[in-house]
């Protein structure tokens, strides 16, 4: 990968048009034989090309032409080459003109067209605005468009009638959640002991008593028909409930009553432990780390560890809505492999009957036990709650007393209606409305705007609406208004202190919004707004604010969102691996994989580590589950922590992480092309071109009869394929050592005896070490079903002609492209932070940012800070 010569530092003259310089003669000598009017190759006819100012398409073509000539790709090696001087001069002329074009454009209209909040930003904004940290509205808004995987650019954030309709509906939902309409609801405390439905009792879940599995009791329970009454009498005698996923595929360890009567914050407490049952029901130690996944509604909340024989308390305070259910699924437990093989046959039904190894009475594998689940709430620090105060300030709140002729209030619950009132309408109304609008619009509202909103309120009041409804109408309008939905960036021409170059620069309040939407996906807080209103947001102050904001927990929003979009993690659920071939993949692994990538990035950011760590790192961020997956010893518990990478481990960097390996595979087979393309695109910033039309697809053959390498033979033997695949395939081959769920493999896995193969046990046995804690009876089923076939060959040759044997070798070669990775990273940061991609005229600033970070080995935090302090961040 050649680096582009740094031509755009060349002194700028007020450029002549491109067509007036030496360029046409250069084209005539070296280019138009292929790219002329007769048979324009790749559709490019240089004689018909207009100025970059003519159209966006023409501009894009000029940039492409410049870059291809600069990299040496054009003219092709086989054709006549220009001299170095000719090349340099032509490129300089092109660069001057493109930069000039961009500058003029920037001065006239900015590089960032006005953009609306995407739905993630919208949700976080309203959560902060109303102090409702778990408010869920994102799912009610249409999906946003994407550019380069990011949902942050103006170009793809469109507006339609459907969108506005949704904003109107969502505004109502938010106001319903935020406005208090009754007296403070009483706090209640419930203890739940049962998970699953009553017919699971004694079968899928079973009670423990006297510190053991009471086998006699268990037998007695199974002799009786299960009904609600039995549960009522027997359950209270239990000390804990044992959970096993062995009994039913898809069994959900759910509390079947919704604990929340009112929406609000609730405290959830539980105690968990794990064990193995002995032959007489005694509780034996469980060597493998077990845990439950706490899920509320359909939101994953946390892993709760269940250490061996040690009942461990957990407490979480979080929001519950009335229909939310609590689930404590023991996802660390292996699923029942027999059940996977025989999902709906008489054999399966017989398997779970009394007397069989999967029945609790006979089962000897690991069990997770839950002592109880206590739910207390709703908890309110104050009443009416903060969300209500954000709308109504300190207006009196009490039982509704409808005035004569007033329209009735809407009733939301079967409770006496409370509402706001005031004796001083004339002063309270403007104060309450202004306070909200200032916050919502992210800048002080002008007297004219305020007056327009007050008029709306007065109109409703005059029509007989109660105060609450009149204000609701105002707030609903505000939440749908362009002042709220769009990032309004008033700008003016300012001359840069160093170069005296004029450019269109946004005001301090707009910069504050840019900073807060970058780091928090939400509106600026009071401290930041203060500085903005006082006109104090110079680059140094911006840096200080950024440091403060990165330390705030809300910066997780940046880490999660940026990483998800940059690396493509949303595709994690795009495919589901075949559960019979990859029984290791359960939701705990899936959640751990995503968490790992985010934690890893957080570490790079917080410790300002070099972009080299994208490729390889001497540490990993793992929990016990991932450590098991990556075959790293000595890690216990479901919490994430930084560990030193063991010597010789192939892990480290992003692209050996489970999440990346999964999203670049398809659930059944891996694709070197997909993985290679990911590396080129996401890490190096040079996405490969799409395949030529009519390229036949590769039909994967999972019988082990041939390997993917042989099937991609054409990529090497055909020159037109090789031109791209010489770059795409090598990283993909290096990554062939990892399967579809990111496990290290030396041989390919394939399905075995499952379909009654007449040949006995083709291939080799899998290794028991990969399935720690699997019960022996299950293992007996797995061995004939999961077979190992052809060996993996992860060797290759880079386009520069360097050979590598495996991923470790390949990483060393990839690290040579450190600067290209830093550049690609900064380009994506610019896109994410400003709402527009890097244009030709912005490249100088990107170079400046890289230059400032060179001494810190392109540390991730330094790059971010340099961007925030750069003029680019303030440019419209």
């Amino acid at each position: 990968m050649k680096t582009l010569p740094v031509l755009w530092f060349a002194p700028f003259l007020l450029a002549g048009t491109l067509l007036r310089a030496d360029i046409p003669s250069f084209f005539g000598q070296y280019c138009t034989s292929c790219h002329g009017a007769d048979e324009p190759k790749a559709g490019l006819n240089l004689s018909a090309l207009g100025e970059p100012s003519q159209s966006a398409e023409a501009y894009r073509q000029w940039v492409k032409i410049h870059d291809r000539i600069a990299s040496g790709e054009m003219p092709p090696k086989a054709k006549r080459q220009p001299s170095e001087t000719e090349r340099t001069n032509t490129l300089a002329a092109m660069a001057r003109s493109l930069v000039d074009h961009d500058r003029q454009r920037q001065r006239a209209q900015g590089r960032v067209p006005m953009r609306r909040l995407n739905r993630t930003e919208y949700e976080h904004t309203v959560r902060d605005l109303f102090a409702l940290p778990h408010l869920q509205v994102r799912e009610f808004l249409p999906a946003d468009g994407r550019m380069d995987g990011f949902e942050k650019t103006s170009e793809v954030l469109d507006m339609s009638p459907a969108q506005i309709r949704q904003y109107m509906e969502v505004a109502d939902r938010i106001l319903d959640a935020a406005i208090a309409t009754h007296d403070k609801p009483p706090t209640a405390r419930h203890r739940y002991r049962m998970l699953g439905s009553y017919d699971h009792f004694g079968r899928t879940v079973f009670p423990l008593r006297n510190g053991r599995v009471d086998l006699g009791w268990l037998r007695e329970l199974n002799d009786r028909p299960v009904d609600g009454k039995m549960l009522e009498t027997e359950l209270p005698k239990a000390e804990a409930l044992g959970l096993m996923t062995q009994s039913r595929i898809g069994f959900t360890a759910m509390v079947y009553t919704s604990p929340a009567s009112f929406p609000g914050n609730y405290r959830i407490q539980t105690r968990l432990f794990s064990f193995r049952p002995g032959a007489n029901g005694e509780l034996l130690p469980e060597p493998r780390g077990q845990y439950c996944e706490l899920t509320l509604g359909d939101r994953f909340i946390a892993f709760l560890d269940a250490p061996s024989l040690q009942p461990t308390p957990h407490e979480i305070v979080t929001w519950l809505n009335p229909n939310d259910t609590i689930q404590l699924n023991p996802t660390s437990l292996w699923p029942n492999y027999f059940h996977i093989l025989h999902p709906s046959t008489p054999a399966m039904a017989a398997h779970f009957k009394w007397g069989n190894p999967s029945h609790p009475f006979h089962y000897r594998g690991p069990i997770v036990a839950v002592e109880s689940i206590d739910v207390e709430g709703p908890l309110f620090d104050q009443w009416p709650p903060e969300s209500h105060r954000r709308l109504f300030g300190s207006l009196s709140f009490g039982p509704a007393k409808p005035a004569k002729g007033q329209k009735p209030l809407r009733q939301f619950r079967n409770l006496p209606r409370w509402t706001v009132s005031t004796a001083n309408l004339e002063s309270d109304l403007p104060s309450v409305v202004r306070s909200f609008l200032d916050r919502a619009f992210r800048r002080p509202v002008s007297p004219g705007e305020l007056e327009a909103h007050l008029e709306l309120a007065r109109k409703h009041l005059t029509a007989g609406e109660p105060l609450e409804e009149a204000l609701r109408a105002v707030y609903r309008t505000a939440l749908c208004s362009p002042d709220f939905l769009f990032l309004h960036e008033p700008a003016s021409i300012v001359r840069h202190t160093g170069t005296n170059e004029p450019s269109l620069v946004v005001d301090d309040l707009a910069v504050a919004s840019r900073l807060s939407y970058l780091l928090w996906n939400s509106a600026p807080d009071d401290a930041l707004l203060q500085q903005a209103k006082a006109g104090q947001l110079q680059p140094e102050e911006l840096r200080r604010q950024a440091v403060r904001m990165l330390q705030d927990p809300k910066s997780s929003r940046f880490i999660n969102d940026f990483v998800d979009q940059w690396l493509g993690l949303r595709d994690i659920d795009f495919t589901t691996p075949d559960v019979a071939l990859y029984p290791e993949f359960r939701s705990d692994l899936r959640h751990s994989m995503i968490a790992e990538t985010r934690e890893f990035f957080r570490t790079l950011l917080t410790e300002d580590l070099s972009v080299r760590n994208f490729v390889d790192s001497d540490f990993l961020c793992v929990n016990e589950r991932l450590a098991e997956h990556y075959e790293i010893p000595g890690v216990q518990g479901s919490a994430f922590r930084k560990v030193a990478k063991p010597a010789g481990s192939p892990r480290g960097g992003f692209f050996t992480q489970g999440s990346i390996l999964k999203i670049t595979a398809n659930g059944t087979v891996t694709s070197p092309v997909k993985r290679g393309a990911w590396v080129l695109d996401r890490l190096l910033g040079t996405p490969p071109r799409p395949p030529p039309p009519n390229t036949p697809a590769v039909e994967p053959d999972v019988r082990g009869a041939t390997t993917i390498r042989k099937q991609l033979e054409l990529h090497r033997s055909s020159p037109s394929c090789a031109s791209c695949h010489d770059s795409i395939d090598p990283p993909g081959f290096a990554l062939e050592s990892f399967d579809v769920i990111g496990r290290w493999r030396s041989h390919y896995r394939f399905r075995g005896l499952r379909y009654g193969d007449p040949e006995q046990r083709r291939g080799r046995d899998p290794s028991l070490a990969w399935f720690p804690g699997i019960p022996p009876s299950q293992w007996a089923d797995m061995v004939p079903s999961i077979r190992l076939g052809a060996p993996v060959d992860s060797s290759g040759t880079t386009p520069d002609g360097e050979d590598f044997d495996d991923i470790r070798d390949y990483k060393r070669l990839l690290l040579q492209h450190e600067e290209a990775m830093a550049r690609a990273f900064v380009q994506r940061l610019v896109l994410y932070a400003t709402g527009a991609p890097v244009r030709f005229g912005d490249r100088a600033q990107v170079d400046a940012i890289l230059q400032s970070a060179r001494a810190r080995q392109f540390g991730v935090q330094t790059l971010l800070m340099e961007l925030i302090a750069s003029p680019l961040f303030r440019q419209k």
Partner: protein
């Protein structure tokens, strides 16, 4: 036949600056009996099954009217003369494997690329022109309640959200609200329109302070407001009309969690009722046959895993059962349309039904030779139209033929500049 006093309403709407093509509902015989032969409107239904259709079991070997049916087409044999099967067709440069599903009705190229923007879908082109005649200009549907999966896209390339499952749809189409509910809805619409009035003023104020390109953004917002206002007005007009009474008076049994085939069947039943009662003329069905292993005998593996069978005969056998089940449901749907009389012919004669998938071969995510068939509508069927399997014929041409039947042009669809050779009208 009753005629409602329509003049006052038309007057009101015209004076508010919005001209609507009011439905002929007041004088439509549809509510009261079979329409006359000249009254039967044209409909379009597109059904996409997203996990592919195995080509070796779908495409017939020989072309023309005497083609030998493939195993899947054998299932549709009772309706052989009512559909045409195509081979050698695809959307040019739609090469994104699974992501092709968003380009199924739009033909927008390179759906998997990072900067992809979709285009308007053929159902929306039809709905724009003909949608105002019916309570629902179009129905985008999906049997499972998945969020945001759609193949209908408006002119801005924005996906149109689906309309709910079969039960919800039935309610929307046929269950009248109580007078109190209707009043509440009308009030809601009025509040909505007044809010939009406010927003229009906001935009005008803001426009004065922004750059020229920002004004474009605000302009799009403004246009969206105006379009939404028109939609709300239209909804309000429809609100006051009683909903039709369908031939099936009880809502369908939509099946439980995991019963996807049952849900598909129920949905298609409701769609037939919707077409029968002229509640809509444009329908799309986005069907993702995942997780149906419990519903089909002999299937023990997840669908997507099966589609990557890697040529294993056991997996092909299982996948075949899943695909055959879908064809049987299609037969049932088409047969239902055939058995519904309308204007001296059948509902099927007035409804063009497109059925297919967006990949040639899901095993390798091939982007050529998409399995497709067209049933019903005013076309001469009963044949296999075979095009070049190496240099495919653009599907846009097929859309052009359908749009031509609707009296419209398909110039906006890639490849739609002329109609398909060999597909004739009757």
């Amino acid at each position: 036949m009753n005629t409602l006093p329509s003049l006052s309403r038309r007057g009101f709407l015209r004076s508010s600056g919005v001209l609507l093509a009011l439905p002929a509902l007041e004088s439509s015989p549809r509510l009261f009996g079979a329409p006359g032969p000249e009254a039967a409107p044209k409909r379009f239904v597109a059904i996409q099954t997203t996990q592919g259709i195995m080509p070796h079991l779908f495409f017939p070997k020989n072309a023309g009217a005497q083609y030998t049916p493939s195993p899947y087409l054998e299932i549709l044999a009772p309706l052989r003369d009512r559909f045409t099967v195509f081979s050698g067709m695809s959307h040019p440069n739609v090469d994104g494997g699974h992501t092709n599903e968003v380009s199924f009705l739009t033909g927008a190229p390179h759906p998997a690329s990072a900067g992809f923007r979709n285009r308007v879908s053929v159902d929306q082109i039809i709905a724009e022109k003909h949608g105002q005649q019916t309570r629902f200009p179009y129905l985008a549907t999906i049997p499972a309640t998945g969020q945001g999966r759609t193949m209908s896209f408006n002119r801005s390339g924005v996906g149109l959200p689906p309309a709910g499952d079969a039960a919800q749809l039935y309610r929307k189409l046929f269950i009248n609200g109580t007078p109190a509910e209707v009043d509440a809805e009308i009030r809601g619409l009025a509040e909505g329109r007044s809010l939009l009035d406010q927003l229009r003023d906001r935009v005008r104020r803001l426009e004065k302070t922004v750059t020229a390109s920002d004004r474009d953004t605000l302009d799009r917002y403004f246009t969206s407001i105006r379009e939404l206002e028109a939609q709300l007005l239209q909804s309000e007009a429809w609100l006051r009309k009683p909903k039709p009474r369908p031939s099936v008076s009880t809502p369908p049994d939509i099946g439980g969690h995991g019963e996807f085939l049952k849900r598909l069947r129920a949905l298609l039943d409701v769609i037939r009722l919707a077409l029968e009662t002229d509640s809509t003329r444009v329908v799309t069905v986005f069907f993702e046959p995942l997780g149906i292993l419990r519903e089909v005998e002999g299937v023990q593996t997840e669908t997507h895993a099966l589609t990557h069978h890697g040529n294993r005969p056991e997996m092909i056998a299982e996948l075949r059962r899943i695909e055959e089940a879908q064809f049987r449901i299609l037969l049932q749907f088409l047969d239902g349309l055939r058995k519904t009389p309308e204007g001296g012919k059948a509902l099927l004669d007035h409804t063009a039904v497109l059925y297919g998938t967006c990949m040639g071969n899901a095993n390798g995510h091939s982007n050529q030779n998409w399995p497709l068939l067209l049933a019903g509508g005013g076309f001469r069927h009963g044949q296999h139209l075979a095009f070049d399997t190496t240099n495919n014929e653009p599907i846009g041409r097929l859309f052009a033929s359908v749009l031509d039947w609707f009296g419209m042009s398909a110039a906006e669809i890639p490849g739609g500049n002329r109609t398909l050779t060999g597909l004739e009208r009757v």
